[in-house]
């Protein structure tokens, strides 16, 4: 069952199409990644999902019903560019954000203290925000995102600027939240990260969804026709071979896309026959990054003129 369904969302700013007919589904209980480079339309899509922007056309369905302003109370949103009232005190700001989400009282305060303790910030609860380090401010902002116990957690580049210890802490908490049945939506341009955490993704480029679905399915589909190869020798003979659609150099590995997924063994034989020293031949592995480059790289050539601005 899908927790959220995004259907044919389109948003135009001053004749620039920021999001173009985007559709994807976020399944219940999943960690979902909205992936794309900066300016691809991630933030605009998220803003439409949260009812901050009204879409030109299309709709967002929450368990089958159109989202309304009540949805805002069920969402915790951590924007990429973070900010808090500098002059406010830690506890005050946590309680203010929770109250805006409709949660107030002793319970929230107790929970806030629990989270502060977990993030080792409890002794700072009466400090002013401006006296906290940047890392601590980020932790605080994350607490404010989840304090009101939202069903949906939308995180925009949540790990940027965190040190390794806090990154782990945050990962732990995110997995915790997943276990509690929360739906977690990441928006990120870091493919490695999405690959490690997400189980469903949608890839957005120039406002269009270019790929979506379960990560494992996507990977196995692309892996079969994409071979990652480590070798010594000369493979230039493959450039014009009918079996090969495309060769890409990713640095450490070379990606070879073949025309027919059932002919991987033929390619291996071809390499061996041509005296190429094969170090690694993996027909079952492809990184999200490779998939993205192979899809978005292509799209870019066609659509260079249609610039998208992040508003």
């Amino acid at each position: 069952m899908n927790a959220l369904e995004v259907k044919n969302l389109t948003k135009t700013f001053d004749k620039i199409i920021a999001v173009d007919d985007a559709s994807f589904e976020v399944p219940e209980g999943s960690i979902f990644g909205l992936i794309g480079r900066n300016g691809a339309g991630k933030t605009t899509t998220i803003r439409m999902m949260m009812n901050i922007y009204i879409p030109d056309s299309g709709e967002v369905l929450l368990r089958g019903n159109k989202v309304d302003h009540l949805f805002k109370d069920k969402v915790g949103y951590l924007p990429e560019e973070r900010g808090l009232y500098k002059k406010s005190k830690v506890m005050d700001i946590l309680l203010y954000f929770a109250e805006l989400k409709g949660k107030k009282g002793k319970g929230v305060q107790k929970k806030a203290e629990e989270y502060l303790e977990r993030f080792e910030l409890l002794d700072r609860k009466n400090s002013k925000i401006e006296d906290l380090s940047k890392g601590n401010q980020q932790k605080l902002q994350f607490i404010s995102t989840i304090l009101h116990d939202p069903e949906f957690i939308i995180l925009d580049e949540p790990f940027s600027g965190l040190d390794p210890i806090n990154t782990n802490l945050l990962k732990e908490i995110i997995l915790d939240l997943k276990k509690q049945g929360k739906v977690i939506i990441f928006s990120t341009h870091l493919m490695d990260f999405a690959e490690k955490m997400c189980d469903h993704i949608a890839m957005i480029d120039h406002g269009k969804i270019i790929l979506k679905g379960s990560l494992s399915e996507i990977k196995s589909k692309y892996a079969q026709e994409n071979i990652s190869l480590n070798y010594e020798g000369d493979i230039s003979f493959l450039n014009s071979h009918p079996l090969v659609q495309k060769i890409e150099d990713f640095g450490n590995t070379t990606g070879i896309k073949i025309t027919d997924a059932s002919k991987t063994q033929e390619l291996l034989k071809l390499l061996v026959d041509n005296n190429v020293n094969v170090k690694k031949f993996d027909a079952n592995d492809i990184t999200l990054h490779e998939i993205f480059i192979s899809l978005a790289g292509k799209v870019e050539g066609e659509q260079l003129t249609a610039g998208v601005t992040n508003v």
Partner: protein
């Protein structure tokens, strides 16, 4: 999409944030001190004689006139105390011209402040002559005008068999004692009290509209640049946020104004303070009530405008430079209200007390000085209310687009386009 709970949450935060802030406490306490300080300083400057050591020569063509001047000068303390040093001499026109040439170096060096010459013609037209490096010395004229006038009158009537009382009467200046006529009451003698109150009200309005407005604008710019607004909008609509901020600041402002007006309220409702007759206040609690309601509406309207400017720009410098249209809306009425003190019933004042925006500042000034019919007050409130609603709708549209925009400073034409946006 409007949510009352969320608006109230924002209002509560604004109140807590503002009422407990150092700036608010300081402003509330310091402004009255500052204002009374200015008033006191001005009075001090006016009453203190800064012209100690003034040295003048009084020359008259007529001996009798000279003697009269000498005697009336000598009655005055500032002459007796040698505050002014005065020399007296009698000279005809030719002698005076020579004398003037002789004294020129002294006049130029400033050792001699000036020479007053009373030719015989002054006994016909009361025109004296004054020669000095600085001939427009109003303070000196104010001091000696009465005495010169008396001397001229005394000399003129000397041989006409008039009693001293008659001569004294002739020397008096005409004065006006002012009475206010209002419905249902007897004519009451009016002091300067209301004139001062009118100035006070005008100044307070002007000052706090700009002060709170600028504060509002800064807060919006801060939320925008620090990206807090993105978190806020994931929790409430831009309308909730704007309404909450404006109402929160509006309530703060009215509270502050109430504190500032407390002395006035105490004066008119209790006998703890009594004012000298000259400063008698003719202000009712109804007027204070009207003033506060008017201020609240005006404040909300202007806060809406200031918030809009804050939302359009993403840094304070740009925002400051975008403020001028709003400043005009406050400053022009301010100057009109100041002129109301000359003639509060002029056509300009009457019209300005109904025009949107200017009504907010001009009507209270007018009401303090003359009786304004109730329907007119009501009319002004209705007009202000309508202005507020209009501005609120307009500001809301710009605000919701503006607060999520960053980057290039938008042109006014672009801002106009925002009205049409479906956000």
């Amino acid at each position: 999409m409007f949510s009352l709970d969320k608006t109230i949450t924002v209002i509560k935060r604004e109140l807590k944030d503002k009422l407990l802030s150092k700036t608010f406490v300081l402003m509330t306490l310091l402004l009255p001190i500052f204002m009374f300080g200015i008033l006191g300083f001005q009075t001090f400057l006016l009453t203190r004689d800064t012209d100690e050591g003034t040295k003048i020569e009084v020359v008259a063509e007529n001996q009798d006139l000279l003697e009269n001047i000498r005697s009336s000068f000598l009655e005055r303390t500032f002459i007796k105390n040698n505050y002014y040093q005065v020399a007296y001499s009698q000279k005809n026109r030719a002698e005076f011209d020579e004398f003037l040439d002789e004294k020129r170096p002294e006049l130029l060096s400033g050792n001699l402040t000036g020479i007053i010459y009373l030719p015989n013609s002054s006994l016909e037209n009361k025109e004296a002559e004054y020669y000095s490096k600085n001939p427009n010395n109003q303070a000196l004229f104010d001091k000696v005008r009465g005495m010169v006038n008396n001397a001229l009158v005394n000399t003129y009537f000397k041989d006409r068999n008039l009693s001293p009382e008659e001569v004294k009467f002739a020397g008096l200046r005409a004065g006006f004692n002012t009475y206010r006529i209002s419905e249902g009451k007897e004519a009451e003698e009016e002091g300067y009290g209301n004139l001062i109150a009118s100035f006070l009200f005008t100044f307070l309005l002007y000052f706090s509209l700009i002060f709170l407005g600028t504060m509002m604008m800064r807060a919006v710019v801060e939320e925008k640049t620090s990206k807090i607004v993105e978190v806020l909008l994931s929790s409430c609509s831009s309308k909730d946020l704007m309404t909450g901020k404006i109402l929160g600041t509006g309530i703060t402002g009215v509270l502050q104004m109430f504190i500032w007006l407390l002395p006035v309220i105490l004066v008119i409702t209790t006998s703890i303070f009594t004012l000298p007759q000259d400063f008698n206040l003719k202000i009712s609690m109804g007027m204070i009530g009207y003033f506060l309601i008017n201020y609240f509406l005006g404040l909300l309207t202007f806060l809406g405008l200031f918030a809009t400017v804050g939302a359009i720009f993403d840094n304070e410098q740009d925002a400051q430079s975008g403020l001028w249209p709003i400043m005009m809306l406050i400053m022009i009425p301010f100057f009109i209200a100041i002129t109301a003190q000359n003639n509060p019933d002029s056509a300009l004042i009457q019209v300005a007390s109904f025009v949107p925006f200017s009504s907010i500042i001009v009507m209270p000034a007018r009401l303090t000085l003359v009786d304004v019919p109730f329907w007119q007050l009501l009319g002004a409130v209705v007009i202000n209310l309508a202005t507020f609603v209009g501005i609120f709708i307009l500001a809301g549209k710009i605000y919701r687009v503006g607060i999520l925009r960053t980057g290039k400073k938008p042109s006014w034409a672009e801002v106009v386009k925002w009205f049409k946006y479906q956000y």
